[in-house]
């Protein structure tokens, strides 16, 4: 969930009133945003506000205050005007394999102030982070139109041939030089988006001046200053729809600072497939039944008129004709995909907490999963036998399940994690034992003996499942004391078999390297191994930093379901 920081004073000015913190929190709550934190910096109060991840139109103070004012019925949703194109952007086929889409727009006669300049930069940042997925899907370049001359070209060039002075750098350099330089800066994470491509995307003007090297950096030449009057906005992307959403969002938010308020100028985009203009600032109209829409919320006391009013407060200007409500979905509400999104807005405007409770009138009988029911009974049995339940992690290191237990081959059956952040998350455990041994190791000061158990899932590769990985429910019992306590663990096995009403089990000595020589055995159920028990090998103990003898029993519980 994105968080934006807004100046409290600016926000309250825009809302036309001031609030106590509690009042503001309540208003946020009803609207579905959350005042996360209040910080005071240089005597200015800043609100940190959590915004739902699909509401890009709320990521700046302009959009947030506008939406809240509409919600409070203070203002109406503005109508946006798109003026005819003067500028043109030509998309060359060469970008197809690296970053295929580009859209653009112009904001004319713009009046920058220090405040809206900061907001302008911050919104681009937020869009980069969220819908842009850290610029990988979408990135934005904004330029002083008066320093460049169209038509503009978006094409891909060999890195060496791209030479320009990057934003806030003092010299001209080629792309590889830039990359070397930026590796030390905040731009580092973005470099990998295009670095391995043979050609890098670049936007130039008719004089060959480089506007930007998306998604990395803009040129210094066309940079925006507080004196900029006319803004050229280009958005490059791997996803066309997202590029349009971003462009619509910036125009919808910042066209309010143009001398002709809420108007922007389109740019003609020329592609091999044909030409089109952006931004669309399109309004989609859905006609829905008021009654049907209320059905899902369980709201029964609204007239179609009231439904239309509620929707209008949610930035969806609506009118009604009988039961038919025409809902206008504008360029700030790209999150509306389906009637259900409109239905939610009715419920929000009505107030979730005003909806009356109902209990579904279904008669059902609760049932448990047999394996879970059995596990719980076994857990009770073990606790009654004086053993203490521990809860350890499913993920562990490769060594934990293999070399530390003197069974190097065990990794072959394990499910491996591709992107672990630490060694602790390399594989899913194939036995419960390592977790219990780590517990013993970090509880050295406890009175002896330690009698521990865990009943939980392990995962092993298996052709039986679509994923090739299968969970098994295991029981692991450990005794650790001054003596090995093997006979205690053996006793637990006997007790469990009585509890599970299983007489047909046997124990066969094994040469499992995990166990002390001559003190390890397989547990068999009608000649099929269902687990093992034994005194742990001293090297295993040493690997887990344990100085006392331990005996263990680990069984697969699935056989008893």
């Amino acid at each position: 969930m994105p968080t934006i920081t807004v100046d409290q004073k600016t926000l309250f000015e825009r809302l036309g009133r001031s609030y106590s913190q509690e009042e503001f929190e309540d208003e946020c709550f009803d609207f579905g945003i959350e005042l996360d934190d209040v910080v005071v910096e240089n005597e200015e109060t800043k609100y940190k506000i959590d915004i739902p991840a699909n509401r890009y139109d709320l990521l700046c103070v302009e959009g947030l205050s506008r939406a809240l004012n509409v919600f409070r019925s203070k203002v109406k949703v503005p109508g946006f005007i798109v003026n005819e194109s003067i500028e043109k952007m030509v998309i060359d086929e060469s970008v197809q394999n690296v970053r295929p889409y580009c859209v653009a727009a112009v904001l004319r006669n713009f009046k920058f102030t220090e405040e809206n300049y900061n907001s302008f930069i911050l919104l681009q940042d937020k869009l980069h982070q969220n819908i842009g997925r850290e610029r990988s899907l979408v990135s934005i370049g904004t330029h002083d139109l008066d320093t460049i001359k169209g038509p503009f070209t978006y094409k891909a060039l060999p890195p060496k041939s791209i030479k320009f002075q990057p934003l806030n750098q003092d010299s001209v350099m080629d792309a590889p030089e830039m990359f070397d330089k930026f590796r030390q800066t905040y731009l580092k994470p973005y470099l990998q988006i295009i670095e391995s491509a043979p050609l890098y995307p670049v936007i130039t003007d008719s004089n060959g001046i480089v506007l930007s090297l998306p998604p990395i950096i803009n040129g210094d030449h066309s940079k925006i200053t507080l004196n900029t009057k006319n803004i050229f906005i280009e958005v490059t992307a791997k996803d066309h729809k997202k590029a349009r959403i971003v462009l619509d969002t910036i125009c919808a938010m910042f066209s309010e600072y143009c001398s002709d308020k809420f108007s922007c100028e389109s740019v003609e985009i020329e592609t091999k497939e044909g030409n089109f203009v952006t931004p669309k600032m399109e309004i989609r109209t859905e006609i829905c039944s008021a009654k049907e829409m209320c059905l899902k919320s369980g709201i029964t006391d609204l007239t179609p008129d009231q439904v239309a009013d509620l929707l209008s407060r949610m930035y969806l200007p609506s009118t009604c004709d009988g039961d038919k409500v025409s809902v206008n979905i504008g360029p700030t509400r790209h999150d509306v995909l389906h009637q259900c999104d409109i239905e939610e807005d009715i419920a929000i405007a009505y107030g979730y907490n005003n909806i009356s409770k109902e209990i579904p009138g279904i008669y059902t009988i609760g049932t448990e999963q047999e394996i879970n029911k059995l596990s719980n009974s076994v857990r009770e049995e073990l606790a009654q036998a004086g053993f203490t339940e521990v809860l350890t992690f499913s993920l562990c290191s490769k060594d934990d399940i293999s070399s530390s237990l003197r069974i190097p081959k065990a990794v072959e059956n394990a499910v491996h994690i591709a992107n672990p952040k630490t060694f602790e998350f390399q594989v899913v455990r194939t036995q419960l034992l390592p977790g219990i041994l780590k517990t013993v190791s970090s509880n050295r000061k406890m009175p002896l003996p330690l009698k521990l158990f865990e009943v939980n899932d392990i995962v092993i590769k298996s052709k039986d499942e679509d994923t090739g990985c299968k969970n098994f429910r295991n029981i692991c019992v450990l005794y650790c004391g001054k003596t090995s306590g093997f006979e205690v663990v053996h006793g637990v096995l006997d007790k469990l078999m009585v509890a599970l009403n299983e007489k047909n089990y046997s124990i066969r000595q094994s040469s499992d390297p995990m166990f002390f020589s001559g003190r390890g055995a397989d547990v068999l159920l009608a000649d099929k191994s269902i687990g093992h028990m034994g005194i742990l090998h001293p090297e295993v103990l040493a690997n887990f930093d344990i100085t006392l003898p331990c005996s263990v029993l680990e069984l697969n519980l699935e056989h008893f379901v």
């Binding site: 409770k357 203490t388 994690i417 009698k451 899932d457 994923t467």
Partner: protein, 572 residues
């Protein structure tokens, strides 16, 4: 016994009597140790025994039971309290001071024994504390006792024909002695003597009255008050106050001491002796003995409680024993677009081996419908308008939520010939490749509830949530609009926490999107409401644990598991 006989006797024995060191050994040892007879010294067995007893006698007391020479009852071997009782049996009253001095015992020890008799239940003795003030000689008084009084010394220093006063006054304490002797009329002075003032004896014979008085006091004989006052004035005696006890028979007097029993035993029940025994008072302010026991883990106790709540409400458990999922069931089936940040390596654990689910494992027509809905919409949706790739759907991951299983269960529900309403739940592990901190781990437990029926509404969701959380003891709820990729409407659930005095988020909920349900084949009029919460958060609140690592994992202190209350969620 002659040495030969003794040597022979000892050749088969270690001790004179029986198998342990007794008074018999000690008595013989004492008899022969002074001048160990030469005819004994060369007797091997006597020498061995002698050396052995020599060592033992230095720090061991012989055993009484086998003592030969203790046939005459010996006070010193009896406990002091027993002695007092024995004595009391023969007389009416015992004076502790008297008793002590008679037996040459420390009075404090006698007092201790008396107090322990008083403490015995059964009223053995009555005790009356007394106080006497006695006179004790001061250091000066003691000096008088040895040397005589100053006046007596002075008198005796005067020769028959007198002595010059100047000379006489050279004796120690002559000044006091002179004035006293003058008062008593023992001496006279001739101031006009030719050699200067000279002192002469006046009385012929004197007796040292003061010394006699002091002797009388020391012997505790009676002395008149006036005399006492005089001695006190001269600082020869000082008062001493001594406390002592007069002990008499109590109602339950008997000479056998029965130590009160600490516990009721099998034997007492067998021989009915419990009827006569007295019992020690139990110390109710002490802790009981620690109990050796097994314990269930608190998180698992809370888990059981949640399962019980769902079962009470008629929910059926979903088969969630499936940590590894593929992108299809975890995300795509839920209408979560493939570029969604949750599908990023920063958030999700991907599996490198086995890396993929084979594409033939997915229901083919359903897969096509999912793809189309993502790409172009349908079912009333605009869709996400992007290129949906099966390769993303095939990727194996550690499931990020149990909703992956819910999706599969709903798909199966949709395949039934006739729709049947369903209430389902699960409580199981999920995995996130997140940054770890005090409240976040890479794996945690998700609690999930799902209800599918025709014409369910948001009001039903609120109703079910209210019923569910009421069972947890949370009655004050409110709902905040929220965004989830696969539910619309979505609501975050807040509960008022009276301890923290604020609203706390306790879960997330919503109605599954039509873009998720309709491609499965769920009828159009069926709505599915669902909610989820973590198991760890309520457990941490319940058991007052601030760091999640103190709750789960190998670093957990076992004491945390040993010492926690049973789980009654509604008593939060």
């Amino acid at each position: 016994m002659n040495p030969d006989e003794l040597d022979n006797f000892l050749s088969l024995r270690s001790y004179i009597n029986g198998f342990s060191y007794s008074y018999a050994d000690l008595a013989l040892f004492n008899k022969i140790k002074e001048g160990f007879p030469d005819n004994c010294r060369n007797k091997r067995n006597i020498s061995r025994w002698f050396g052995h007893i020599k060592v033992l006698s230095t720090n061991n007391k012989p055993k009484l039971s086998t003592c030969l020479i203790s046939s005459k009852s010996d006070d010193t071997d009896m406990s002091l309290d027993q002695l007092i009782l024995n004595k009391l049996a023969d007389c009416k009253e015992i004076d502790s001071l008297h008793f002590a001095s008679e037996r040459n015992l420390d009075h404090q020890k006698v007092v201790g024994a008396i107090k322990s008799l008083v403490a015995l239940p059964g009223n053995y003795v009555e005790v009356n504390q007394q106080q006497t003030s006695n006179w004790d000689l001061t250091d000066e008084g003691k000096l008088f006792m040895c040397n005589g009084s100053y006046e007596y010394i002075l008198y005796n220093s005067i020769p028959k024909d007198g002595i010059l006063q100047k000379e006489l006054m050279k004796i120690a304490n002559a000044k006091i002695g002179f004035s006293k002797a003058m008062t008593l009329g023992w001496i006279k002075i001739d101031k006009s003597h030719e050699n200067g003032p000279t002192v002469f004896r006046k009385a012929e014979n004197v007796s040292d009255v003061v010394k006699d008085l002091l002797t009388a006091i020391q012997d505790k004989k009676s002395v008149s008050d006036k005399q006492i006052q005089d001695l006190k004035k001269r600082k020869l005696i000082s008062p001493i106050i001594s406390k002592f006890y007069l002990v008499s028979k109590g109602q339950g007097f008997k000479t056998t001491i029965e130590k009160p029993e600490a516990d009721l035993t099998f034997e007492m029940l067998q021989d009915n002796s419990w009827k006569e025994k007295t019992f020690k008072e139990y110390n109710f302010s002490a802790k009981g003995s620690p109990i050796a026991s097994g314990y269930l883990h608190p998180l698992m106790k809370v888990k059981s409680e949640f399962r019980r709540i769902f079962l009470d409400m008629g929910f059926s458990e979903m088969p969630t024993s499936r940590f590894v999922e593929n992108g299809f069931w975890n995300f795509d089936a839920l209408f979560q677009p493939q570029q969604h940040p949750a599908r990023d390596a920063h958030d999700t654990f991907f599996i490198s081996d086995p890396e993929m689910t084979c594409s033939t494992q997915f229901p083919e027509d359903y897969l096509t419908r999912v793809k189309e809905t993502h790409e172009e919409g349908g079912y009333g949706s605009t869709g996400y308008n992007y290129d949906w790739k099966i390769s993303e759907a095939q990727k194996n991951i550690l499931r990020t939520h149990t909703t992956a299983v819910s999706a599969k269960m709903l798909y199966l529900l949709a395949q039934e010939k006739e729709f049947k309403p369903a209430k389902m739940f699960s409580v199981d592990r999920v995995f996130r490749n997140e940054t770890l901190d005090a409240t976040h781990l890479a794996e945690f437990h998700q609690i999930e509830g799902v209800v599918a029926d025709k014409n369910l509404t948001l009001g039903h969701l609120i109703g079910v949530l209210s019923a569910f959380f009421k069972k947890l003891g949370l009655e004050k709820l409110k709902f905040k609009p929220a965004y989830n990729p696969y539910t619309e409407p979505s609501m975050e659930i807040f509960s008022y926490h009276p301890g923290l005095k604020k609203w706390v988020e306790i879960g997330n909920s919503g109605m599954f999107r039509p873009e998720m349900l309709l491609p499965m084949g769920i009828p159009k009029d069926v709505n599915v409401i669902a909610w989820g919460l973590s198991l760890e958060r309520p457990t941490m609140i319940k058991y007052g644990i601030n760091n999640i690592r103190e709750l789960i994992g190998p670093k957990v202190n076992l004491n945390m598991i040993y010492e926690n209350p049973i789980c009654r969620l509604h008593k939060m």
